[in-house]
Subunit: 222 residues, 4 copies
DNA sequence: CATGAATGAGGTTTCATTCAT
DNA sequence: GATGAATGAAACCTCATTCAT
């Protein structure tokens, strides 16, 4: 019944194009909700603010998304759809294995840096033990291509004798994500407890080098 | 004005020992608040539930901690105090460098596993950009010994020719924490999107091996 | 302006006959509204559910009935029209007086049993002090034949020396209705407070005997 | 947990006696809620109006009664408690059987006349199929003494050869209640459809005579 | 004849916090 | 040191109704 559309682009829709356009309106709501949920978490998010930011009546959100929780799920699915889409654009399959992995590290880092809302949304969802995503039918099928892709890269690396044996592509992906995610997601507390600005440009580029060394140090045969 | 005590132990205080005991009452509140904030986040936590769980009147929480936000800060400080305390018990300085690092990885993993509330609390605090910790005077001094300790281990490893050059102890610590933290903190969403129970005993032990290989693969000279 | 039709039959209209048929559409709406108002009362009824149940767009209800309140009035008028119509089919004028009264008791009981929505609708209307019916022009003329009919029966009974003197046909009708109505309408609370299933088949037939005895005990000369 | 008190008297409490008095406050809320639910039904009742009428903060109603539905249940229990209490004051056991029954008819009539909210509340509860009362633990025990009392009266009447055999006291009570209840509860619609003011003083006293004749006509041996 | 999109007002309920003892 | 009573603000959500096609 709920025919929710995917928001492909984040920039806001000009006001003069709004009204009586179901598709656009839903995209607008999704965009606004993404920002609000990212800033304030599920509990802290305010439907009022989402409506105002989307330039629609509060009631309309319920018309299209039924409840705050289902809206949150839509936002999560949309966020996953976007990053998986971007990953497809990397064409890892056409790169040599070592370059492919380095490229994935760089991409993940860059994507998290440029889309911090993705991190916050996931944090919120984890706080709720993935309660919403578990109700999603689309989420698994959205993520399996990525694993397959990475499995191919690892296979090629091993066949060429470059990579070590016994590498689980899921573990590898989680490790790459870990290194990028934690540093950025926990940047605020880390900077505070270590008394050091970990978001400064130098700090960021140092981190990228470090992470690449860690991942390649693990993967490459000694 | 606020004389806040540290809750050293998590097990609940027997009922017969309660009442008219400032120190114990505060510990009880801290314990209950830690659970509640960990389960529900800052926004989702309910003062009512904390009071009920601690077995005290709601008003008393305000008497000791002034506000929800300051209570949250106390909970955070208490959580950091406990993990730094536990780390001290590792005696990394008396182990050879490689063993020391392996030990730290295992310890971190084990500690996060056994104290999942620590992860959730940090997630919440990061959602709020470390707003609370930044107001803490105790937090930095609590964390600097750890960095010093790790610096010593790395130095010893490099002097003995075992470890690679150019290793920043803070980066190393963050990397170790990343690998453990992300896997556990995001376990729910990861399990869901990959359709694989990442909290099963085998999965957990595989992860520990993988992480150790990653860290040592990076540190050890080729 | 509002050309409202009477829904003579309650069974739903087959889907293939719907659409672009003013008369049928209005009957469908009336039918659905009757159910909804009976189930939920005036306040609890939802225009949304009525529309869904009738298989029409919400807007169409307003097109035909103008507002929820006027729709409710139409439902009431329709309900009265149906019961008065059924009463006409009894042909009380062709029965001997005692049989005629017994027949009326049985009929009233049976009709209320088979058309419980009639009771609920009246309850709702009484909650609102007959506010809607008072605006109806058709309602009185619909009910006067019944009184006339009953007056004739009572007259015949008295002239034959069978019935007692001083019987007001309106009082008699109200009494018959009372006995049937209250037992059925308040069945749920009565069953609960007396801890006894007053809707069980035996209970129902016992009630019918009792009521007949009460009415005839009153009417028949000692 | 909810320690709800019974409102013995309906007149409002003087303002100067209010505040910081749990018992009185709860009575006030009950009183106001009774009026509001009686006037508007469960669905139409407004918590806001109840709070205003009781002179308390809206939030306080939830503090004491938890929800609108539980408040409604309390109101119902209170209403039953009051009428059963009043019935006890009749001392039917000390009257001769015929007088006792006449007295009960008169009392019931009078009580319904003077406490019309009782009728409306029951109507509302029946609309909801006794959903609330079914959750009450007190309701049955509150009503059983009445049945016992009436059983004794009937027994005495039968032993003295005055009353007919085969009289079920529950049926008898329901019949008495029916006659009074329906006339008053449905007065508005009846007056409208019969075009006759059934609430006029003469009409009321005529009805009382009629009902007494009906009940005694049934009970007394021919 | 018929409909999907959109809304303003207001509903119940929740919450951190304070008052008075 | 400790508590039950009480509150104002605001949250999510609902609803009858209207707009524009």
């Amino acid at each position: 019944m709920l025919n929710i559309l995917t928001a492909d682009s984040l920039p806001p829709v000009p006001v003069e194009m709004r009204g009586r356009n179901a598709e656009r309106t839903q995209q607008e709501i999704l965009r606004a909700a993404t920002q609000e949920f990212a800033n304030a978490g599920l509990g802290g998010a305010r439907m009022e603010r989402i409506a105002a930011q989307a330039g629609v009546n509060k009631r309309l959100i319920y018309y299209y998304f039924e409840s705050k929780e289902l809206l949150f799920l839509s936002v999560l699915e949309d966020a996953y759809a976007r990053i998986r889409d971007a990953e497809k654009g990397l064409h890892l399959d056409s790169l040599d294995p070592a370059t492919a992995v380095r490229r994935l590290v760089e991409f993940t880092w860059q994507y998290y840096l440029e889309n911090p809302e993705f991190l916050t949304l996931l944090n919120s969802e984890n706080l709720h033990k993935a309660r919403h995503l578990q109700r999603s039918s689309r989420i698994q099928e959205m993520n399996s291509p990525l694993v397959q892709l990475l499995r191919d890269v690892v296979d090629r690396g091993q066949r060429s004798g470059l990579f070590r044996e016994g590498v689980d592509p899921v573990q590898l992906y989680i490790t790459i994500a870990s290194l990028c995610y934690f540093y950025l997601s926990n940047n605020a507390t880390l900077s505070t407890i270590f008394g050091r600005d970990l978001f400064a440009p130098t700090a960021l580029s140092e981190r990228l080098s470090h992470m690449t060394e860690v991942v390649m140090g693990y993967l490459l045969r000694k």
